[in-house]
Amino acid sequence: MKAIITIIAVAALASVPLWLRDPYLLNALITTGIFVIGAMSLNLLLGFTGQLSLGHIAFFGIGAYVSALTSLGFDIGLPGGLRLVHTPWPPIAGFVLAIVIAGLCGYFVGLLSFRVRGAYFVIVTISFAEVVRLVALNWVELTQGPLALTNIPSIALPLPGLSELTLRTKMQNYYLVLVVALIAYLLIARLVHSHFGRAMRGLMENETLAVSVGIDVTRTLTIAAVISAAIAGAAGSLYAHYIRIIDPEVFAFINTVTMVIMVISGGKGSLAGPVVGGLIFGLLPVALRPVMAPEAQWIAYGGVLIAILFVLPRGIVPSLAQRFGRRRSRATALASVTLAETAAKEPA
């Protein structure tokens, strides 16, 4: 059943560029897809470990800048009169480096904040995003500051035996984003259904009990943070090479909020949740554009989010799955939630 839905959904998404010719809509779908990848990565932390990264856009932005700078090259002065010169590398190398460096940043943020969690993690991630934004804004020699990095090359795929294929058209970029999104989805699915996913689940449900059977909190959360940040970095790289211009505004808090809304509305802790929530909130601006000023749209977002959570309190995917679900009756689900809360309040 689940497999059939997945196959139909993937086939439907893959068919879109074959019948949708409108470049404006295709563009909206591509940027939405990029944000869906970001939302999936956020969900790995928020939905599967319960940690809220309110600076998640930092990893996305770092991926974007790393990838852009790798493919544009730079020439900067270092202390002591030295210069660091980097000649441009192919964008695909930028994509890989974006993943690696964003993942490393995830590691350090995790290391800093996972000893004391909860609110502390939220604050560390927000501050991290702000610090990175200030660096991007003020290290003009490297990032051009508010003037933006421009003319970022499109991704080019090296084809064996042939010359490179540069992805210039919307259709090509659409498929690139779709493929990366599918890989990210599969990776997260594998992870949460593995030994590591069970450790994350255990920690989220009952940390005291989880550590008593040998689960290492710091290690488990750090693994989740690294993978989450790396995927966000990949999304940022796609963004930079598709939009081809990037400025410090990419780090704006509102971009994290957008991802959080995508995850919460679709259903945190569900694999498909961020995809569904992401498509709705990614495409909502397209639907609202003819009828509303951009400033008013945020109010509409809020309204839609509240309406969704009012009707489907656990988010679209989990709530619907439960409504059409098998075994577990409403009563058991409620009872277990209450018990979980009691357990959480009472340490051993």
Binding site: A199, A210, S212, S336
Partner: protein
Amino acid sequence: MTARNIAMTIDQVAVRFGGLVAISDMSFTVGEGEIVSLIGPNGAGKTTAFNVMTGFLTPSAGRVTYRNTALAGLKPHEIADLGLIRTFQRTSVFPNDTVYDNLLIGLHRQGRVRLLDAILGLPGARASERKLRQRASELLEWVGLERRAHDAAGSLSYGEQRLVGVALALAAEPSMLLLDEPVSGMNASETHRFVELIRSIRDRGITILLVEHDMPMVMTVSDRIVVLNYGRIIAEGTPDVIRNDPAVIEAYLGHGAGRA
């Protein structure tokens, strides 16, 4: 007592919470394969002692050694890795997961695979998964929860949840098991079956330290009993010795209660 190898040594442990002395100068040992009970009135410091032994609490003084490893400074998961596993006095399960999935989480120590193997679904990781599932089924059968395998742990009766808690601890492959009031909330027949379970756990070579209020049960299963009162050990010995110890009778029955 026969000469056994010592599994755990508690040496002059003291715990203070602000002005309150929860444990003072506690010393005793538990031998390999032994069933030792730690008893005493409510508030005597039994759970606190468990918290110290499993790294959830740092003692104000003294040290605990398990199989020649000093536990000072080790985190709970590191102590679990030594094979020293506890259960909790308050019901403690993963409530939203099925009983079967609870055990899979409990099997964490057996299931360690490399991250990349797990993500790529390599044969090593898949074989490990099969082994875990096999082991979870065996554990369910051992504790008698097969029929509940696919129910959410949070939806079980109180007594059954206590059993899930023990099964979870067993999943972690203990060499020594600390049980904190395991039969509280169980009915008579559940308690009776639990006594059988404790014996079968011991028969597999697992050392047991038991905290329990059910005196008939304590007297039947224990090799040795340590009695705590107000954080101090007031008696220690075989069930027969403890039964007739005046200090113990005083502690349990001396507060104006009628003599049995």
